[in-house]
């Protein structure tokens, strides 16, 4: 049964001053999808995410998120940023980072965290296997552990959609596989969008891949060929054929 897409881009274009980043992008994401958004650096991946989250406004075209405008709907999107977006030496404990995801649910900015907030945070920390790290500060974590903390912070907002920007850029391959296994279990209840420049690895997890380099093309990951990838990156890339 066809349902309305939960995220829809119609002919969306965006440019930073003279530099065109997105050109008439059409994208529809259905509930329950695990979408991989891939493309070269500077191809517009982060810009597309920022448009989705309402942090940027498109110059032309329409964006519809869960039946509303991005700015209004951002609270239903769980965002997992890149490591570079915050200082990694900030003196903050894991539990504090996770709980901070509950801030937007309070009526007053001076409210303390309620028992409900703590219960949700605890449940999410168990799910992401970081309960034993609760009291540690983030500068004592490995890349994989920190990534789980950021995922947990996004999950406590109880989002319908989870959006991850380069979740495996700073971690080793073993931790990378663990993160994607975690995402696979999370996908049972929600839609997941993963941005990655590492195209080969994620294709065995995702249900659809969107290739972005100013323009956007969608593929079934099983049919993605070396030719498609070459078109996307405009030069030869190392592609290893693999079984699913």
């Amino acid at each position: 049964m066809p349902t309305a897409p939960i995220i829809e881009f119609k002919q969306v274009s965006f440019a930073y001053q003279q530099l065109k980043v997105l050109d008439k992008v059409d994208l529809q994401i259905e509930a329950g999808e695990f979408l991989g958004l891939v493309g070269p650096n500077g191809g517009g991946k982060s810009t597309l995410l920022k448009l989705m989250l309402g942090l940027l406004q498109p110059q032309s075209g329409q964006i519809n998120i869960l039946g509303g405008k991005p700015v209004e709907q951002a609270k239903h999107l769980g965002y997992v940023p890149q490591f570079a977006s915050f200082p990694r030496d900030y003196p903050i404990a894991v539990a504090e980072v996770v709980l901070s995801g509950r801030l937007g649910t309070h009526k007053h900015w001076w409210s303390r965290y309620k028992a409900e907030d703590k219960a949700i945070a605890e449940e999410v920390m168990q799910q992401t296997e970081i309960s034993d790290l609760a009291g540690r500060s983030i500068d004592q974590l490995s890349g994989g552990q920190l990534q789980r903390v950021l995922i947990a912070r996004a999950l406590v907002t109880q989002p319908q959609v989870l959006i991850l920007d380069e979740p495996t850029a700073n971690i080793d391959h073993r931790a990378e596989a663990d993160i994607f296994d975690l995402l696979k279990t999370l996908q049972q209840q929600r839609t997941i969008i993963v941005v990655s420049h590492d195209i080969g690895f994620i294709s065995q997890y995702i249900s659809r891949v969107a290739c972005l380099n100013q323009t956007l093309l969608c593929h079934d990951p099983k049919s993605l060929t070396g030719g498609d990838i070459q078109d996307l990156y405009h030069h030869d890339v190392q592609a290893i054929p693999h079984q699913h």
Partner: protein
């Protein structure tokens, strides 16, 4: 010990000692934010340009201290807006405000009729001449800082840690950022009698920076920075009394040397392992 006897005996030393406690609370609560958010340059801009407001207030009302709090708050908001919206020229703009503020202060003070105010005391502190009323003002500022930070600890932490995520959760990031700079401005006014405008950044940043070397979360950092601030101000007072030296400068040198030793000690510790 001679110092303790004198402290018992002379009310000016008692005032200075109490001033040290009150200053330590302020630099302990707000200093950690200045250090983790790396805004000591902005704090310096607020502190130094504050002389302009004090000069104007001295010229019109013969009372330099009167203009301190409103001027500090206005400067905090101007410098905060420069940071938020003037990114490309940020450092030059803040440097310009920094020195223009001081220049304004110098001009107004020079044009004030009557005897020339002792500018040195505003620039370098005058804790040995602090009056009871000033101590009450410091206490009031401490209470404001404690209250605001206790109420808004969580959003302030979220905004200083990851502003983009905080904004997506609906936290009014710009408001809390400007609020933080206003708190820094009030702390500058609070610390001014202790060490003066010129030296304020050191007392704001050094105790927190040392604390950061030993603790890993914000609340213990505030506690340790307060204790360190207390040690620096009382030990600086002791040295200044012992050798008859300017108090503010002694406090800052004690704090600075401790920071260098703490950094060096940590480097040696890591080298050993």
């Amino acid at each position: 010990m001679n110092f303790l006897q004198d402290l018992w005996q002379y009310s000016f030393l008692q005032h200075a000692f109490i001033g040290g406690i009150l200053a330590a609370i302020g630099c302990g609560i707000i200093g950690p934010y200045v250090v983790v958010k790396r805004i000591s340059f902005m704090a310096g801009g607020i502190a130094h340009s504050l002389l302009g407001g004090m000069g104007i207030s001295y010229f019109f009302w013969q009372d330099p201290a009167m203009g301190a709090i409103p001027t500090a708050l206005i400067l905090a908001i101007i410098i905060g807006l420069i940071h938020l919206y003037g990114r490309q020229q940020e450092d030059i703009l803040i440097a310009a405000i920094w020195s223009m503020g001081m220049a304004t202060g110098v001009i107004f003070i020079s044009q004030t009729p009557g005897y020339a105010v002792d500018m040195m005391s505003y620039l370098f502190g005058n804790i040995l001449f602090v009056e009871t009323a000033q101590l009450y003002q410091m206490l009031g500022l401490d209470l404001v800082l404690l209250l605001v930070v206790a109420l808004f600890y969580r959003p302030l932490q979220a905004v200083t840690f990851d502003p983009e995520f905080a904004r997506l959760r609906g936290v009014p990031v710009t408001f809390f950022y400007l609020l933080l700079l206003c708190l820094v401005a009030l702390t500058v006014v609070l610390l001014m009698p202790m060490v003066g405008l010129i030296l304020v950044i050191a007392l704001l940043a050094l105790p927190a920076a040392i604390a950061r070397l030993y603790v890993t979360t914000l609340k213990p950092m505030m506690l340790l920075a307060t204790l360190l601030g207390l040690f620096f101000s009382s030990f600086g007072l002791y040295i200044s009394h012992l050798w008859n030296l300017p108090t503010g400068a002694c406090i800052i040198l004690v704090a600075g040397l401790c920071y260098i030793f703490a950094l060096g000690g940590r480097a040696l510790w890591h080298y050993r392992i």
